[in-house]
Symmetry: C2
Subunit: 211 residues, 2 copies
Amino acid sequence: MDRANNQRDTEALILQAAEREFLEKGYTGAKTTSIAEAAGVTHAMLHYYFRTKDKLFEKILADKLDKLGEIMFGVIGNTGLPLRERLVQGIEGHFDFIAANPLLPRFVFNELHSLPDRLEAVKYKIAPLAKAVIDNLQAAIDENNRRGKCRHVDARMIVMDIVSLNIFPFLANPLISTTFGTLFESREAFLEMRKKENVRTILDKLRLDYE
Amino acid sequence: MDRANNQRDTEALILQAAEREFLEKGYTGAKTTSIAEAAGVTHAMLHYYFRTKDKLFEKILADKLDKLGEIMFGVIGNTGLPLRERLVQGIEGHFDFIAANPLLPRFVFNELHSLPDRLEAVKYKIAPLAKAVIDNLQAAIDENNRRGKCRHVDARMIVMDIVSLNIFPFLANPLISTTFGTLFESREAFLEMRKKENVRTILDKLRLDYE
DNA sequence: CTTTGTGCTAACAATATTGTTAATCATTAT
DNA sequence: ATAATGATTAACAATATTGTTAGCACAAAG
């Protein structure tokens, strides 16, 4: 037959299709019928497994917020390294993460904007991690500054700078492609260049480049 | 009666309501019935004046793309000033513009993502202006660099930096409010601080701060 | 006064979208 | 073998959403 999906993978197929649709079109743009069709099942199955569109969406959003938490948590780990290496790894790791999940920023911004209720989940899962990252970074900056190795700057601003710079190329992807289309060799080359540039911008701001 | 809108302002009322709805909820999230209700008219009037939801949306999007063009065009004007002042005015002007139109970036990113057809309008209206801004800036940077007044940097990267840094606080507004909620005195104070910080970041990158 | 045109309303229509349900199928346990 | 349980389907139902249409009101022009 044409179906290798015998028994229990239906739920997974729906989840995969739903993830793609929700990330691509957002909550209001995604249609349960379209999701079911993309998954290759009748739309009744979607309701059978997830009851409502909302419940299905919750699953996807929670999963995405978890991913967001993971990347932040990963940055905290590299505490043993000197500040410069921590920053390079952190910034490039963050950039690569977004490159691997290019639709994630727009999705999160959109859905948190239209459903302020979800902010509770952020408040208790993301905010503490963000605070840990910032406190960690601020301590390292302060210590380096005491030794005359870098400027004294607000870690909150640095984190905001990094996220701003790294996210933009993916948010504005269509705009950049058409506006700078001919000005860069390829999309991959541009992204690699931009990643290095963002690292340079931050190190530069801290005056950590020449030590 | 309760309607001071006698004859010909109905069209304007619909446009205003449509602008709010489309910017807030996007094309798929906005509903013609809701727009009509917000405008205080029957939804038949919406079709009477604009035929379809698409046509109405086109009007709003075109209007917003025009606004986007205006701000870029405005930046080109200040050619007589020295580079430092041009940058400060350009960055702060751009920041203030977004602060006055905080929903615009998300709207543009979203709708251009879901309707790649619209990119033609961008290609012929926005891209040339962007190119003018960049060429202009690059010339000024090169000239200052020749005189040893600043570093030699790619103007495309600088423009991308500015837009990235300025847009983020408004895109991530709900996230920032909850994550940094208690860490800043007020939203206004934070925005003012962030604006100055972005100017500093760019001047710093060019090494234009101490001349 | 009538005619004409425009703005407007209410009701209708068509389709899209989400959700439900009764019946069927397959698999496993008894 | 049979009962039971869970997965699946097709059909139905309810509401939402977009769009249309016939006619009314009213002002301006003849």
